[in-house]
């Protein structure tokens, strides 16, 4: 008991209670989450302003006669005439591994009811992106587990890859599949020397609460939550919170980057983020531009996405990979916000509604999707089998119009069409079921080496599933060899040939 008293005494004596000098202002107008304040002569841009009752605001408009401030919370109890003061601080959020497995709001406060969060540090929400010298080029892969993406549009650690498409085309599903796959890989390789786990951050901006709850349930069922942070700013949240949520998520990702770890951050979605920023800007009476968006809507997204990078050993030795999501209207990628974000990111995965309804899911348009990092982010094994696939599919698409002529074509055209149809079938994948890399390599190797040419197109999926089953249960040794070596050499080729021969004999 006496030790507690001693501790308390030392705590009290250690506290400083000198005269404070503060800078105050009076609220002159309050409404719609925006306060106009008179006074505050020493306020700085983006500074945190303290309102009575523990509420904080951000000073965004420094005008001649007044300060425009957005409120980070409920404006109950704030009326015209209350005194507010500056804090001299920037808006910051708790960061660290203590946030993994939790659902937090924009300010880092938990909303999942699992108790308080122990943060390793507090990082500012707005931060300048790493400069040119601090960066390292992208060379490590992010295995999404989706064959269409890992084979033809590979994503690397530190890259920004945009997922763009109409509503209900599977954009969020690609992101969730990637997160699930990272968790699987992390779990399988835990403790192995030289392995770098990839932690995920999912930022839901302006989403329906039910959607975020559903994504959370899927991630929990797949056991991915211990490696994931969910930052939730749903549609019921204020526009200010929706505007700041991606920056909070980026700050959390930066902690991983600064501490030698890799992070993946999904911004779902940036279209709603731009809309929230438009609302905040219009309420602050800032001049509007095209489609009523403020003039700096490009800067909004560019400064957010530039914070995702790969840094060299001296500056943290980590990376943040960004998967921003943009929703287009009626497939119009030449609208204002989509063109902005396309020009910022290092490539896009373009999802088409037509493909979706034809049954090709994930509905990735191979022709329009690109990854500007490309094969630098692929392990050798995948490069060996997937190198030619994009070209094969391109030829297939070109000749697809002649497919209706069936028997009137020469042998070469027929073979291209047959091979193409089978590849398209192969790339169809069920949602929330990412594939392991070695299984992908095996499947693609068997396709590229003609083992599927005699299987009917509508039986390809069945063949593939049985093949994957066969390899995971009976030929795990070959898979292990591919996993360890990371490339297909003559030894593995021989093993694969033998295994496939066996499988084909027994396949019905």
């Amino acid at each position: 008991m006496s030790s507690i008293l001693q501790e308390l005494e030392s705590q009290i004596s250690g506290l400083k209670t000198t005269t404070t000098k503060s800078n105050v202002g009076i609220v002159r107008e309050i409404g719609d989450g925006v306060a106009r304040i008179e006074g505050l002569s020493d306020v700085m841009l983006n500074e945190l302003i303290e309102f009575p009752g523990g509420l904080y605001g951000l000073a965004l408009n420094l005008e001649e006669g007044e300060v425009g401030c957005i409120l980070l919370g409920d404006e109950k109890g704030v009326v015209e005439g209350v005194e507010v003061k500056t804090t001299g601080r920037l808006l910051s959020v708790p960061v660290g591994k203590g946030l993994l497995g939790r659902v937090v709001d924009t300010l880092g406060a938990p909303v999942d009811g699992k108790g308080p969060i122990t943060a390793s540090a507090i990082y500012p929400v707005e931060k300048v992106a790493p400069g040119i010298i601090k960066r390292k080029s992208v060379s490590q892969p992010v295995q999404t587990g989706i064959m269409a993406i890992d084979a033809m549009i590979p994503v690397g650690r530190g890259q920004r890859e945009l997922i763009i498409g109409d509503r209900a085309t599977g954009k969020t599903t690609i992101a969730i599949d990637t997160i699930i796959n990272q968790a699987r890989i992390n779990k399988a390789n835990e403790g192995k020397p030289g392995f770098r786990p990839l932690y995920s951050i999912y930022v839901g901006i302006g989403q329906k609460n039910s959607n975020i709850a559903r994504s959370l349930a899927v991630l929990e069922a797949a056991g991915a939550m211990p490696y994931t942070i969910i930052v939730s700013a749903p549609a019921s949240d204020t526009a200010t919170n929706q505007y700041l949520a991606p920056f909070s998520g980026a700050a959390m990702g930066e902690w991983f980057m600064d501490n030698g770890m890799d992070a993946l951050i999904v911004y779902d979605d940036l279209s709603k983020h731009a809309v929230a920023y438009r609302q905040v800007s219009l309420l602050l009476k800032r001049p509007s531009g095209r489609e009523a968006y403020p003039g700096d809507v490009f800067y909004l997204h560019s400064r957010l996405l530039e914070r995702s990078a790969r840094v060299d050993e001296k500056n943290g030795n980590g990376s943040v990979t960004a998967l921003p999501i943009i929703e287009t209207q009626a497939g119009d990628v030449s609208a204002y916000i989509p063109t902005n974000v396309i020009s910022i990111t290092d490539g896009q995965i373009y999802l088409e509604t037509d493909l979706f309804y034809q049954g090709i899911r994930p509905a990735v348009s191979v022709g329009l999707s690109v990854s500007r990092v490309g094969s630098a982010a692929q392990i050798k094994a995948v490069k060996q089998v997937a190198g030619k696939i994009k070209g094969d599919l391109a030829q297939f698409r070109e000749l697809a119009a002649f497919a209706q002529f069936g028997s009137d074509l020469d042998a070469k055209t027929k073979s291209i069409l047959d091979r193409g149809a089978r590849i398209v079938e192969l790339f169809k994948q069920v949602q929330y079921n990412p594939l392991a890399t070695e299984i992908m390599v095996t499947t693609l190797w068997s396709m590229q080496n003609g083992f599927m040419d005699d299987v009917a197109v509508d039986k390809i999926k069945d063949f593939q599933l049985k093949l994957q089953d066969y390899f995971s249960t009976r030929k795990d040794a070959v898979l292990a060899k591919i996993r360890d070596k990371g490339a297909i050499d003559d030894d593995i080729t021989a093993d694969l040939k033998a295994a496939l021969g066996e499988f084909k004999n027994s396949y019905r």
Binding site: L15, T20, S22
Partner: protein, 133 residues
């Protein structure tokens, strides 16, 4: 934005005209106000209200409100005035108020700057510091 740009510019100009050596000149203020009332330019009530606001803010910058829990004796007030005048200029106007809620100590407000050493403020700061510890 209740006033248009031209009216705002005009009001700012009128305010600048009412200053002598950077300080408000009472005679000039009265003259300006009378001139505006006589001339009645467009939205002159708005102009006068905005002018009043600018004058009010300028006056507040050179006016100190000193709040204490109990009434201060002459020696303390003289010392305070001397210190404040040294910092904010010889023409500082002062106002003394007693506010028992402060519990003790002083709270001095000049324009937007507040020097708070009252017991109430120290207690609330202690509270936040202990809550964070």
């Amino acid at each position: 934005m209740k006033l248009d740009k031209d009216a705002r510019k005009l009001t700012k100009g009128l305010f600048q005209m009412s200053l002598t050596d950077g300080r408000l000149d009472r005679k000039k203020v009265t003259a300006v106000v009378q001139k505006v009332i006589d001339a009645k330019p467009r939205s002159f009530t708005g102009i006068l209200k905005e002018y009043q606001r600018l004058v009010r803010l300028e006056v507040a910058k050179h006016h100190a409100i000193i709040e204490s829990a109990t009434a201060l004796d002459k020696a303390t007030t003289d010392q305070l005035l001397a210190n404040l005048r040294a910092k904010y200029g010889g023409d500082l106007t002062t106002e003394f108020k007693t506010k028992p809620e402060l519990l003790g100590g002083l709270r001095i407000k000049i324009g937007s700057d507040v020097f708070d050493s009252s017991v109430r403020e120290r207690l609330s700061r202690l509270e936040t510091q202990l809550a964070q510890a």
